[in-house]
Structure formats: structure tokens, C-alpha cells
């Protein structure tokens, strides 16, 4: 098992040497590439010395678990955020995701924020597709931002000794899309630091917005068991992956989740703050927006994301964003 300890900025870079030695990988230009025998993909660091340090992992099929440990620091002057997307490699299109996510301590798809005071250990399981950003951000740079936002709720929750060591929320399609884009571009990007900081900034916005929604939902009483949340995240993953197809229908989703349609509907709404179809539709349209950004015409985008009729797509787009795809492309 690879084991990495992170105490200060330098150790972000040093950890590469540790992993590299352990797994016989290649390090070049502060990017660590897995050689193929021990896994595929890369790990890279960015933002060292800027107060927002980022470790990005884009790896699949590791032959061994990878552990990253932040040492507890007494002054506790930073937060550790991590955004993990961890999937079982796809086997077939129609197969239901296998239910063996019960890796105990191991990480699963989630976003989380923790105070650095108590330290933090993240275990990335082997034989998975992993996209993850680990961010260590100095408290003062984040606090200014969220003080106004939640009147110090996050800080208070994390600082109280009885409270949970970290706050964790489910990952949603927004994070997935962003992580995907990020990993595709980070290695060849000419301004890596700038690119990283922009993406981290966007992730933080998502996180704060999600926190706000989740906080409200939690206040209303959440009452979901860990089994529920696992089933729900399976449903969520299914909805995310199959955005090109028709909405799978409540019967199929309830089979995936092993819940009754009614309880699936209510619980999904409680966990993700969206209805099943609303979530599916939002994800779909986000994909559409990305395609529009890459200059693909509206007609083709509509077919690409599974609309048989472009005007249906236009209507759905307009309903979601308030302006038509055409207006999105021509803002003036």
C-alpha cells in the first residue's frame, strides 16, 4: 500500500517521490505518470506556496490502494477539501452498477470539507476509475468568503470538538463535468496554476451552494441510512452516465436502488435537492451547453444528447436557463 504523508507545502511535491519510488513511476515536469504496470493515469500538484494547494489525481486501475495522509497540525490554520469521483470501470452499457462500494474506510464519490487540525486520511481504492482533487486552503482565505455566506456555520461545525471531523456531501453532475474537463486539460495547459485556481474557485462555489441547500434539507430532518445513501448514489450515477438515452423511468431506477418508487422519489429529493427527472434533465442540458461551447450547432447538439426534435431541445433549454440555445451563442 502506498502511503503518503502531507505536512507542509514541500511535502506535496515530496509525496511524488514517495509514490514514484514505491510504484516505479515516471515523474516529469511535476506530473507523475503511472507506468502501466501499477495503474494508468497521472497525479499532479499545483498552487504550491499560494495558500491554495491542490493535488489532482486522475488514475484508473491501480493495483494497490493509495493512501494520502495529512498530518494533524496543531495550529489548524487550513481546511482540507476533497472532490472525489470514484467509479467502478464500466463493463457494459446495460449492466447495473455492482453493489460493492462498501469499502469501509475507503473513499467513495463525494465532496467533503474538513479542518486540518485533526489530520485527514484519504484512501483511494484499487481497481477503480478515480478523478480527485485534494485542496488545502488556508483558513483565512476561505473564511472571508464563507463568513458572510453562512455566518460561520461551516467553521463552527468543524471547530467544535464534539462535531464531525468533516462535512461530506454527495457528488453531483456539476462536479463530475468539471473534474472531467479539468483532468483532460491540466497536463498540457500552458498556465497550469491559473487553470487550477479557476477550477478550484468554481468547485468552491458549487460546494458553498450545495452546503446551503444541504444545510436546509438537514434542518428539515434528513433521516437517511448509509444504505439509502449508497443506493441513491447508484441511482445518481446511473442518471449521470446515461444522459444520452431517454429518462430510464421510475421502475428501472427503483430496481437499481432497491427502493419503492415513492420512497426513492422522496429520498432522492431529500439527498440531492432535485427530483429524479429534474436532476437527469439538468445534467443533460449541462452536457448540451458544453457541446454548444465547442461550436457544435444546435441541431447536432440536440441529436447528440438524445433529442429527436431540435425544437424540443430548444424548449427544454429555454425552460432551464431562461434563454434559448441561440441566444446563448449570440448574447448580443
Amino acid at each position: 500500500m502506498s502511503y503518503v504523508s502531507l505536512e507542509n507545502s514541500e511535502s506535496f511535491l515530496k509525496c511524488f517521490e514517495v509514490i514514484a519510488e514505491d510504484k516505479s513511476c515516471i515523474v516529469s515536469d511535476s506530473v507523475l505518470y503511472f507506468s502501466g504496470k501499477t495503474g494508468k493515469g497521472f497525479i499532479t500538484a499545483a498552487g504550491i506556496h499560494t495558500g491554495i494547494e491542490v493535488l489532482a489525481l486522475n488514475v484508473s486501475m491501480l493495483t494497490d490502494d493509495l493512501t494520502i495522509r495529512f498530518q494533524p497540525s496543531p495550529d489548524a490554520s487550513s481546511y482540507i477539501l476533497h472532490f472525489d469521483e470514484i467509479e467502478i470501470p464500466a463493463k457494459g452499457d446495460n449492466e447495473l452498477p455492482v453493489n460493492n462500494l462498501s469499502g469501509g474506510e475507503k473513499s467513495h464519490s463525494a465532496v467533503s470539507i474538513a479542518g486540518a487540525g485533526r489530520g485527514k486520511t484519504i484512501v483511494y481504492p484499487r481497481e477503480r476509475v478515480i478523478r480527485s482533487l485534494v485542496v488545502r486552503v488556508r483558513k483565512n482565505s476561505l473564511d472571508d468568503l464563507i463568513k458572510d455566506f453562512d455566518a460561520g456555520t461551516i467553521g463552527a461545525v468543524l471547530d467544535s470538538p464534539e462535531g464531525p471531523a468533516s462535512l461530506t456531501w454527495p457528488i453531483t453532475f456539476k462536479y463530475r463535468l468539471l473534474l472531467n474537463d479539468f483532468m483532460n486539460e491540466i497536463v498540457q495547459h500552458p498556465f497550469r496554476e491559473l487553470f487550477t485556481i479557476r477550477n478550484v474557485s468554481m468547485l468552491m462555489e458549487y460546494l458553498l451552494q450545495q452546503f446551503f441547500v444541504m444545510q436546509k434539507l438537514a434542518a428539515e430532518g434528513n433521516g437517511l441510512s448509509s444504505q439509502d445513501t449508497r443506493s441513491l448514489s447508484r441511482v445518481e450515477q446511473h442518471l449521470c452516465l446515461h444522459y444520452k438515452k431517454e429518462f430510464p423511468g421510475i421502475e428501472k431506477l427503483s430496481r437499481i436502488s432497491a427502493m419503492s418508487p415513492t420512497s426513492l422519489k422522496t429520498k432522492f429529493k431529500r439527498y440531492y435537492g432535485e427530483t429524479l427527472f429534474g436532476y437527469y434533465q439538468k445534467n443533460k442540458l449541462e452536457h448540451a451547453r458544453k457541446l454548444l461551447d465547442s461550436k457544435i450547432p444546435v441541431k447536432v447538439v440536440a441529436t447528440e444528447i438524445g433529442y429527436s426534435n431540435p425544437s424540443h431541445f430548444t424548449l427544454a433549454f429555454k425552460k432551464e436557463y431562461g434563454f434559448s440555445p441561440w441566444h446563448y451563442l449570440n448574447p448580443h
Binding site: H49, T50, I52, S141, L142, D144, L145, I146, D148, F149, D150, A151, H189, P190, F191, R192, E193, L194, F195, I197, R198, S201, M202, M204, E205, L208, Q209, F212, K282, L285, E286, R289, D293, K295, I296, P297, V300, E320, Y321, G322, Y328, L329, N330, P331, H332
Partner: protein, 320 residues
Amino acid sequence: MKFQDPDQEKPIKALQVFSLPVGLRAATLKATVDRQEIPLPDFHEEGYTISFINFKGDVRIGTGHRPGDKEQTASPGLGLICAAGRPMSFRTGASVPFAALVLFVPKGWVPLFLGANTPFRKLEQQLEEGAIITCRLGRRQLSQLSSALNVPGEKASVALGEKAPAASGDKAIAVLDLQNSALALLEYFLCNRHRSLLGVSPTSDIENEDDLSLIREVESYISEYYCSDTFTVDSILKKTYTSYHRLNFLFKSIHGMTISEYIRNKRIEKSKEMIADNVKSISQIAYEIGYSSISNYILAFKKVYQITPGKYKKQIDSLA
């Protein structure tokens, strides 16, 4: 901070200044300006200012201290970078709707976030010497700019597809929104400049990288398939997601001819070679290079070489 106007001695109200969490400062301005000079905020620090502007009407960029000296016309949808403290202002004659996002990059920020990039040093040098470097914004950037400028006042996060958060979080989210747009614009600007600093310079009046690569793609597609009888301009359009007019426009500005002329020339050139080989009959050649009727082929040949293929063949035969 006050922004003095020489005429009215009072700051522009629509100008708002933000400190972004990431260490940049930003000023936004969105108003109909009806005065001589639109002042830029002075951040009183060493660094660079990057202004992204968009407007309707007539605006000039003044680089001298007084109105009138050293002016050039600005085009809408422009990004400009210069060393902070350098005299630069926007001047208008009449009242124009004007929108600007001015980003201030402190000197200390540069090595942290941009230092690893060597081409940027070149850019820095040019800036030290007092240059103003510009970059045209694309559609996506313009929409980003307008959403960034909407951020503080209205619940403009709608533009990002978000539900407007409740009041307590509004400001933090708004600032983050602004920061995200600002960073994205900055990234676009630098990446765009980065390419030209690396020496990838456009050869014609087409400035856009994407357009050039599109043309190259179409050219290679044509050279591969132009002899097939199922090959049409339509199939190119389908493959590249472009419209006929756009492709024609691009072709004209690079090759000086429309796309169908380009394809015809290629075919006729090929047929000329085949005639010179003197192996196949003219009708055979016509079918082989993708013409469905011989008279069409003869007409096309005549258009390019002012001679019919038959006569051309005779000429060659007589020479041989």
C-alpha cells in the same frame, strides 16, 4: 477609492470595485456613458491591469495624458493588458452603452500563478516597455463578460444555470461568480496570447486559430475524397458542422475562390494529368474524377483552361 472625472469631479456611480478571494481585484462598470472620458480605476500598486470591454458605438482608446493625443479606435469585445499606472483611458464622443471588467493583477501574484510559463516573460517584457496588448474576445467570452457584469446587482446567477441562493449567501456567491468569470477571461486572454508568443502566427487576415484548423481539415478531407462520385459540399458541411456561407467565406479569404471552385479546380487538374497520361478516354476520365455527365465535365474543363479536353488532348498528341 475615488475615480476623478476632469469635467464633473465626481466618481462614476456604476463603477464597483471588488477584492477577489484569490488575490486579484476587479472593477466592473456597466452604464450608458455620455461623457468625454471613461476613467479606469487606479489601483495605486505595481502590477498589470487587464480590461475587458464591450460597447455599442464609437469608443477610442487614449494612451496619452490629455484627450486628443495618441488615440486609436477600439472595437467592441476587446481585452487589453497593460502595466498598471500607465496612462490609458476610453474616450467617447456621444453617449454609448459601455461595459467593462477591469482586473488588477498585483505584481506578487504573477510568479505564483503565471511564473512557470516562459512565454509569459516575453509578454511581461513588452508590458514593461509600455506596450498595450490586445486580444479579441470570442462569443463565449462575451457571454462570460456580460454575466460577470450582471453579478453584483441583479440575481444574475441565473445566467450560470443556478438557482439564486437566499439572501445571506448572495454576496459570497456573487463574488465567487465574478471571480470565476474573471479567472476564465484571464485564462482565455493569456492562452490566446500564449499561442502567438510561441510563434503560431496566422498567415492571412483570418485571425482565428479554429478557423485555420477548420480550413486545413476541410482541405485534407477534399484531397482524400474529391474523386468520389458521392462526394458533395454537403458532406463536408455535415462533417465539420459549418454552414455553407461560413465555409465559403473562409475559403475565399484564404484561397480566393469558393469551395466548389476549389473542388472543381482540383478535379480538373487531376483530369488534365490523366489526359496527359494518355491511357484513358475522356469520357472514362470524366466518370473517374466524379462527374456524372460528360458535358458537365467538358464545360468545367473549359472554364478552367479555356479549352475543351478534346482539343487539349489533340494538342498534347501533336506535341508528342
